[in-house]
Amino acid sequence: MALDIKNILSKNLKVDYEKIVIKGFEEEEEKEVSSNYPKLREWDHKLLSYFKPFYSPLCSLCCLCTYGKCDLSKNRKGGCGINLEKQQARIVLLACCMGAATHTSHARHLLEIALKKNPNLKLKTSRDIQVIAPITTTVTGVKPETVKDLAKILDMIEREITMLLAATHTGQEGDSIDFESKALHAGLLDNMAKEIGELIQISLYDLPFGEEDVHFVEIGLGTIEKEKPVILCIGHNIAPGAAIIDYLEELGIEDKVEVCGLCCTAIDISRYSKRAKIVGPLSRQLTFILSGTADVVVIDEQCIRNDVLEICSSMDIPVIATSEKASFGLPDLTDEEPDKIIRDLLTKKYPGALIRDEDKVGEVAVRLALILKEQKKRIGLDLRDKQVLESIKECTECGWCNRVCPAMLPIKEAMIEAKKGNLEPLSNIYEKCVGCGKCVEFCERNIKLVDLYRVAAKERIKNEKFKVRAGRGPVTDVEIRKVGAPIVFGDIPGVILFAGCDNYYNGNDLPLMAEEFLKRGYIVVATGCSSMAIAFYKDKDGKTLYEKYHGAFDRGGLLNLGPCLANAHAIGAAIKIANIFAKLPLEKNFPEVADYILNRIGVCAVAWGAMSQKAAAIATGANRWGIPVILGPHGSKYRRLYLGEEMLRKIKDRRTGELIDTEPAPLHLIYAAESLNEAIPLIAKLCIRPNDTPKGRLIKLTHYIDLSKKYLGYVPEDIHLYIRNEREIPYQYKEEVKKILKEKGWKPREAPKEPSIL
């Protein structure tokens, strides 16, 4: 509403300005912000008539109420009448609610800080970015201008999450598609919360806002200068890390103290300060803490190891908790003087403290780190490393480590080699380890395996120095204007989002995938741990992909959008294509926009190592917008996928109003791939859209066949579904394709002018 006025003003139309403003406000006062769930539910039912839920129970028992446990095996009903299929849908909804709540509560915390620091803070805008909150605007019709505007939207999100969570309660929703509709809604609320969180932190901390040439950040365990006092920030919330950086600058000693981070906090503080370093993604957390490099550990929220306090305590590292959500039983010293807090921590009165005031955290963390660094004896650490190495000979080769490793790494075999004096295989384990520590828990001899991998890889770690482009924030309107047409028509073969955590089998999967598509001119955008993982690889010239490929949202660009929250920008980019290129109005126009994305924008998300409930919410949210998602093999544990049928699909051509046969594109909405080899051609396939021009289709199919031949060894046998006329047959594979077409009884068909499922 408000932005409309701004547009009017910017066009110098001086029409009754005040009246409009007052009217706008009146309306706002009158009505609560709403997402209009019933209308969205209609969309969900439509969408899921094409993409059917596919369930893989991870447990067939229900233990949520005291009628249980109920054995729902073979789809039997439990004491409340629920069956296994509905129970899966319900658990997915619960996970999505947990994920959405997490981002919402994160955004709420940022909002509170913003309101405290500057209640009238304007949201960042730029000439290049007019639509600053595409998701929010599409869903609610609101165009926020100040942080205060966001409060009402967060209220709405919290209200609706509460409603969705209520639906998971025993005795409520009773239909699997309605459970799924609610999961999709939770995903959408998650998207909005992320967008809001990003908007606030970008505006409050003046973070990069759609800069393609953003600065480079050092990343990797090898980049941390151990000679300096080291403050390690773990989690997802920028506030304490930024305050630490501010305090250092205030003292003028920003070059004397190493501030580094793990997980998204690292991305955010390195957007805020060019000096901040990124240790790495989630999988490096346990290893790095155990290395004893950090003098002080500051935790904020999300992705914090649950045993961080016990581990740090065992190494005499004080822990500063900063969020009421992750207080770790620590005493709340928020109202104490910094001097006293520091004294209490130095004398080990407490193993750490909860300080809910980020500025105080900044002071305490820095002063503590300076003092502790002085006290610390490095020799202790080296001795410890030696002891760890000694433990190799304890190994009984029982094989439990192999059995419990989620990455299925050959740990036992590496230990056998290590006993013979060859540490190389153990060092290789380090490279691929997802850092969960289960091998340690199950080791008969309590060998500290995770630590052992680190010690074995010590030399390798010294050289673990990479570069990643800082999180750039949103895609600009200017970029969208440039690429809208080539994306919608298929000349740019696709936009690929690498999102999510790094719980997958092979260390280098992500850079390998990214490069395969970058060199083919796809646009690759990455967020969170994925944007880090892509950096953990250098070509023979010693360059990371970020150094090799430009950072613009354009053909062959590799963009680090930012932390997990920045996934909102990826969805935002798709929305903006619909809005800016195709002129679709956004306000309260969700189904139209999602339908456009589903049928016309060749985007595919990959959450290769998706770990947590947030990832489930993010992916499910993307799905509701019509964006297909490919998960890695562990993703099958999310219990539910949305699968389309591999046959011609009946959709509507809105130009003619007719139902017509078209290719199943995208084939699936969410799918778990068995292997990298399966995933890569599938990514290319899932970038195909009914709207492709013949030329665009030709390009897309060429990549699809190329990649299928390279990674699977054959020309895909479903190719006949995607070829509408002979012009679309890739030249290089003409013979093979024609053979398939003949076998399948292929006939040419018309492409829809305005493909739609509405």
Binding site: F54, S56, L58, L84, S636, E674, S675, G713
Partner: protein, 170 residues
Amino acid sequence: MWNPAYVTPEIANIASPKIVAMAVKKAKRPMFVLGSLLNSLPEEITMEILEVAKLLKNKYNVTIVSTGGSYLTLSKYLEPDAKIGIIDLINNLRNPYWEGFDGKGNYDLILFVGVPYYIATQGLSTLKHFAPHLRTITLCKFMHPNADYSFPNLSNEDWLSYLRNLKSLI
């Protein structure tokens, strides 16, 4: 027997090579699924698996299916009847009215090998609960509780001998 205090309902029976061989002989529409690990297993084991596959195909007309890129290895020795993603395959198998790769309807016995453990167990879970019309057997190194029958946990050596044994029994 299910017990309301358990955290588990029934789990797979342990299969000997003999049981597997007998099951195949009895089956009307058997299928053998070879997954992506075929590309990375020790060669000796891969070779043994491939020979089992060949025999199954030749003697019992077992439908050979490649998933996840195993075709790269498989195709050097044997042309599978179908290539498909494992989840797509499971989704088809789940449907009692699926027409099969040959148009002759769904299958009744599915053997698996070489599909990475965690995604395999999820696929088996789908079949266990929602596909009462078929039986599953895994020939993998690690025991699969969600299958109907499964090899036990095996060392590479024992796995090899299980496979050899199976080959001799087909």
